[in-house]
């Protein structure tokens, strides 16, 4: 179904580069070095535009539109036509598109110091962004000579409050994993394997790796669990709360098959629930089993999607023995999800973090656990706002992929990613040089960290922990009273 139009202007030098770059078959070389455009196949991934040496090609929205003025929009009608033809569930990828659901980050404004206290210049004074994630005991212990005994359970130490979200090998390429791992190590933060196992070539990045245990248990074995700084139990993700995953057999080839421990060509299906977790007490047992398997040397993270009753869910997780709770919001990305689920299930991360942080405080256990926020963090200001609402740190998935070239065309589920990220086609995966990719990820996170320091300094805050849950740093604009109440903030001007 045609959404976009591919156009070129007189600058075209007929080098046919665009045709070579297009992995969706939308641009083909015809006879006599002419270009043939199959507009209906274009995903607007912008690969051709970025690669055109003459700057002669561009993509526009298709000018044709269906009759307006009806309850049914263009997209509604297109989707009905598609489903009437195929009888299938609509697939999509990346984050939810719900246009009428507010992006609350954009309605939050940050504070700054004026007169009554000084702002702090990050170029002149130390500005601390280090974060420690993990459990804290209820009190101190002293030895017989009165010295404090270190009774802290294992922690993750981050030099900056930005981590990379879980993206599995299979959904994305090994080169992406390589770039993420190398960048995380250099940045002093962590990357996350997702549920597809850890390729052996990445074992040396053990100290910067979080390995995931999801419902399919793909690639989970003792060495895997112990080749990590922390283990994440994935209950759900923001893009598709309540449902499992499905990696088609055509992506289960070669090393993906070996790493996932799934036979080649066989679909890898993650069940919707973990079949050993049907309730919160089961989660406590899995947390404990994993701690036993890793000799109580590593923190355990439990990742959940932000759903309606996220506050009591988080409270239950905090009491399950988990060290860190990771909450993925409504706009969280994915490599493939049913479109209806992606766009209609779950709640925005801003509201989820605010209500979880508040609930954990009311239950007096906020200091016992750490909280990671993800799902639609687009820039450093979003990260600062998430922390001021109550998160210890944030993690980024889509933003990291963008640093590697992604233009969010939301076609990951096709496996034809022209940027070589969400694909296993060796012709395409080679388009990402892991070293160059790592350098770009490092640049991105360093840039955000600099901006975070600048924002903190403006507020007179010189350590990130003094920003955590500091809701007075935020004011709302364009929000109703209920929204302000849930976010726990005042209105701008108040």
């Amino acid at each position: 179904m045609r959404r976009f139009r591919i156009r070129k202007d007189e600058g075209c030098i007929s080098c046919l580069r665009c045709a070579r770059e297009c992995s969706f078959g939308a641009i083909e070389a015809g006879e006599d070095r002419t270009l043939v455009f199959h507009h209906e196949k274009c995903t607007d991934c912008q690969r051709c535009v970025s690669c055109c040496p003459a700057g002669a090609i561009f993509i526009t929205e298709d000018g044709n539109r269906f009759r307006h003025g009806s309850v049914f929009t263009d997209d509604d009608i297109r989707e009905i036509l598609l489903q009437a033809e195929t009888g299938g569930v609509l697939l999509s990828s990346m984050g939810a598109s719900g246009k009428d659901i507010p992006i609350y980050f954009d309605r939050l404004l940050l504070n700054a110091s004026q007169v009554t206290n000084p702002s702090i210049d990050p170029l002149r004074e130390p500005m601390e962004t280090a974060v420690f994630l993990g459990r804290r005991p209820e009190g101190i212990q002293r030895d017989s000579e009165g010295r404090i005994v270190d009774n802290l359970p294992p922690h993750l130490e981050l030099r900056t409050p930005i981590m990379f979200s879980a993206m599995s090998y299979g959904a994305i390429s090994l080169n992406v994993h390589k770039a993420l791992a190398a960048a995380a190590e250099e940045l002093g933060t962590y990357w996350n394997t997702g549920e597809g196992g850890l390729h052996e070539s990445l074992y040396p990045f053990k100290g910067s790796t979080i390995v995931q245990v999801a419902s399919g248990r793909f690639g989970v074995h003792e060495t895997y669990l112990n080749t990590a700084a922390a283990i994440e139990i994935k209950i759900g993700q923001g893009a598709k709360p309540g449902i499992g995953g499905h990696l088609t057999g055509k992506k289960i080839i070669g090393d993906v098959s070996k790493t996932r421990m799934v036979p080649e060509g066989l679909d890898a299906i993650s069940p919707a629930p973990h079949h050993d977790i049907y309730s919160i007490e089961d989660l406590a047992q899995l947390v404990m089993s994993i701690k036993e398997a890793t000799h109580h040397e590593k923190p355990v993270i439990v990742k959940v999607a932000a759903v309606h009753n996220i506050a009591p869910i988080a409270s239950g997780i905090a009491r399950s023995g988990a060290d860190i709770i990771s909450i993925d919001g409504y706009r969280g990305g994915t490599g493939a999800a049913p479109k209806r689920i992606r766009d209609n299930v779950g709640i925005p991360i801003e509201l989820a973090i605010a209500s979880v942080d508040q609930r954990l405080r009311e239950e007096r256990i906020r200091d016992r656990v750490s909280v990671i926020a993800s799902g639609g963090i687009r820039n450093s200001a979003d990260a600062v706002k998430a922390i001021a609402l109550g998160a210890d740190a944030v993690s980024i998935g889509t933003a990291a992929l963008c640093a590697l070239g992604c233009h969010v065309c939301a076609s990951c589920h096709t496996g034809r990613c022209a940027w070589g990220l969400a694909t296993q086609d060796p012709q395409l995966t080679g388009r990402l040089d892991p070293e160059k990719g790592a350098a770009r990820l490092i640049n991105l996170v360093n840039a955000w960290t600099r901006e975070i320091k600048e924002i903190m300094g403006g507020m007179g805050i010189n350590s990130i922990e003094a920003l955590r849950g500091n809701r007075m740093a935020l004011r709302g604009a364009g929000l109703n009273e209920k929204e302000l109440e849930i976010l726990g903030i005042g209105y701008a001007g108040e």
Binding site: T116, N117, P126, F132, E362, R366, M459, I461, M472, A473
Partner: protein, 364 residues
């Protein structure tokens, strides 16, 4: 217009403190003179004093100083106290009426001790039993406000310039071994009596100059542990944090200073291994209580005083010594006016607590 307590008000300030290590009890005249020098650092919207060693004849009992908006608030509060405590003595606090201190509330003093059978049933120690009752008065009894509730100590505060507050309370008639004073410069409020400093819980008093940028992170953390913050002032939060860390968590004041004015990670990194692990433990364990932004505080406690600056030293704080007496102040002039020939004058470094205590033989 919202008054303080309903909205957070920032303020600048002057602070001053005198501590006699040898336990010698001096009248309030010296501290009045000292804080009066810094008249310009206040704007007449708040002043106050804390004194230790002033009630030796009642030193086993909790001394309550309470503000009441009305007689009915007093009657209700006295009924509340009577159910839970033995009231050994009660009286109005004597004041000298002056036009400079208008509209005072009713100001009462009580010496109380927990009823033994209730204390036993509560399974709490008497400090916790008493502090919970006092927090409850402040949180839920309308028109009643507990100004101080420690033993052998008291807080005298009002809306006005500190020297006028001293005259109002006749503090020259009290003798104590430890005095702190505060002059306030709130930015935009009519000022109210309870919002003045010192702020206090049990034996702990805090006077504070600054505006902390970590306020809401700290407030939300300490509220979690049963300290409702009603005044929305920095000082209230700092007092509760110190009470929580010392009395509930068992930290020393020196350790507390490493939590609230924690050394930078880069500083911790160059310490020897034992110190490094101690300091990083305190930062990780109590990260919610790191205080950022400018502050200089004087913390009074039974038998001692702590002076502490924020870790960047964004507020002035000077210390001096003469014989067995230690002085702290926002400005050196406020020390020199009462001791013109100190043995030593110095500016404590940011984050470096100066803690003084009574000499052993002088311990009360």
């Amino acid at each position: 217009m919202k008054k303080e307590g309903e909205v957070r008000i920032s303020s600048g300030c002057a602070i001053s403190g005198i501590f006699c290590r040898n336990g010698k009890r001096i009248t309030g005249e010296a501290i009045r003179k000292s804080i009066a020098v810094m008249h310009n650092r206040s704007n007449g919207l708040g002043g106050g004093f804390a004194a230790y060693g002033i009630y030796p004849q009642y030193s086993d009992f909790f001394a309550l100083h309470i503000f009441y908006d009305s007689q009915s608030a007093r009657e209700e509060t006295e009924r509340f106290l009577d159910k839970r405590f033995d009231i050994i003595n009660l009286s109005k606090i004597p004041v000298r009426q002056t036009p400079k201190i208008p509209d005072p509330p009713l100001i009462w003093r009580y010496f109380i001790t927990p009823l033994p059978h209730l204390l036993q049933d509560s399974q709490l120690d008497e400090d916790e039993y008493t502090s919970r009752a006092m927090l409850r008065i402040n949180d839920s009894l309308k028109g009643a406000y507990v100004v101080s509730c420690g033993k052998d100590m008291g807080v005298f505060k009002a809306v006005g310039y500190p020297e006028d507050v001293a005259d109002f309370y006749r503090i020259e008639e009290y003798e104590g071994y430890s005095w702190t004073a505060h002059g306030r410069y709130p930015t935009n409020t009519p000022g109210w009596w309870a919002g003045s400093h010192p702020f206090s819980l049990l034996d702990l008093t805090v006077v504070h100059n600054g505006e902390i940028s970590s306020y809401d992170a700290n407030r939300r953390a300490v509220e979690m542990y049963g300290y409702p913050c009603n005044l929305l002032t920095d000082t209230e939060v700092i007092t509760y944090i110190l009470d929580y860390l010392t009395r509930k968590q068992g930290l020393t004041l020196r350790e507390c200073s490493r939590v609230i004015a924690a050394p930078f990670w880069t500083t911790i990194a160059i310490k020897d291994e034992e110190e490094r692990s101690r300091l990083s433990y305190l930062r990780k364990m109590y990260s919610s209580f790191l205080i950022t932004g400018p502050f200089s505080i004087l913390v009074g406690f039974r038998g001692g005083m702590m002076a502490l600056n924020d870790r960047l030293k964004l507020r002035s704080l000077v210390a001096a010594e003469k014989g067995g007496t230690v002085y702290f102040s926002s400005e050196e002039a406020a020390i020199r006016v009462i001791e013109d020939d100190p043995d030593r004058v110095w500016a404590p470094r940011g984050g470096e607590a100066v803690i003084v205590t009574l000499d052993k033989e002088a311990a009360v």
